[in-house]
């Protein structure tokens, strides 16, 4: 296993960090103060977890308001999920049409 892949697995092995990622999936971005306000851990611990996600390439840093640093998922991180949704939506649009026609065909 490459070190890079090892970093990803290590980052994902921690439930607190997985929770942070799931939050990013839902909400788009977060910051150290935001997370520290909601999780029962110190700002320092939050910053350490985010740094580990950053080192693993799972999140990127972006400037927020003032001096705040915001964290986001790596761009296109969910491209696989989006592509699946689009492909599957198209496929079912076609299939339900075919199902309807197959059942309503008078010559059935």
């Amino acid at each position: 296993m490459s070190d890079a892949l090892g970093a990803v697995f290590a980052a994902l092995s921690d439930p607190t960090r997985r929770g942070m990622l799931e939050r990013l999936v839902r909400e788009g971005s977060t910051s150290v103060p935001e997370l520290a306000g909601e999780l029962p851990i110190s700002r320092q611990a939050v910053a350490k977890h985010l740094a580990s996600l950053y080192d693993a390439g799972l999140v990127v840093r972006a400037p927020g308001e003032g001096r705040e640093v915001r964290y986001r998922l790596r761009p296109h991180a969910l491209a696989g999920a989006t592509a699946w949704l689009e492909r599957t939506e198209d496929a079912w649009d076609t299939r339900v049409g075919r199902l309807k026609r197959a059942l309503e065909k008078p010559s059935r």
Partner: protein, 116 residues
């Protein structure tokens, strides 16, 4: 989608999913025959080529669940659920296909692919 027609607990899942609903001018039994039997499926699914359908729940004629996967070495199986209800003018069919992986798993695979 009409909330009363479909029981909520059957469509709740945290994975991404696609839902489509269609009104068919046919009886629930005819719909069932078209989705639950191989001969029936050949009439509307065969153009997509061979895809093995593994039926896991068959509550005739109201609810059918199968797993399937597109051909390919990296394709993961996904779950497809049909809910079938008689309504005025025919039968309403709700189909829900659930993504094979959780968003987090997709993210992990993406990150791994970028970094490797």
């Amino acid at each position: 989608m009409s909330g009363e027609l479909w029981p909520v607990e059957q469509v709740e899942d945290e994975r991404p999913r696609v839902e489509r609903e269609v009104l068919v001018e046919a009886s629930p039994e005819e719909v069932w025959e078209a989705i639950a039997t191989e001969e029936g499926r050949e009439r509307w699914l065969e153009e997509e080529g061979e895809r093995e359908v593994d039926v896991v729940v068959a509550e005739e004629p109201a609810r059918l669940v199968w797993w399937w996967a597109p051909d390919g070495p990296h394709e993961q199986p996904s779950r497809v659920e049909f809910l079938i209800r008689a309504v005025a003018g025919g039968t309403r069919v709700l189909v829900i296909e659930t993504a094979p992986r959780l968003p987090l798993e997709m993210l992990a695979l993406h990150a791994a692919a970028v970094l490797v």
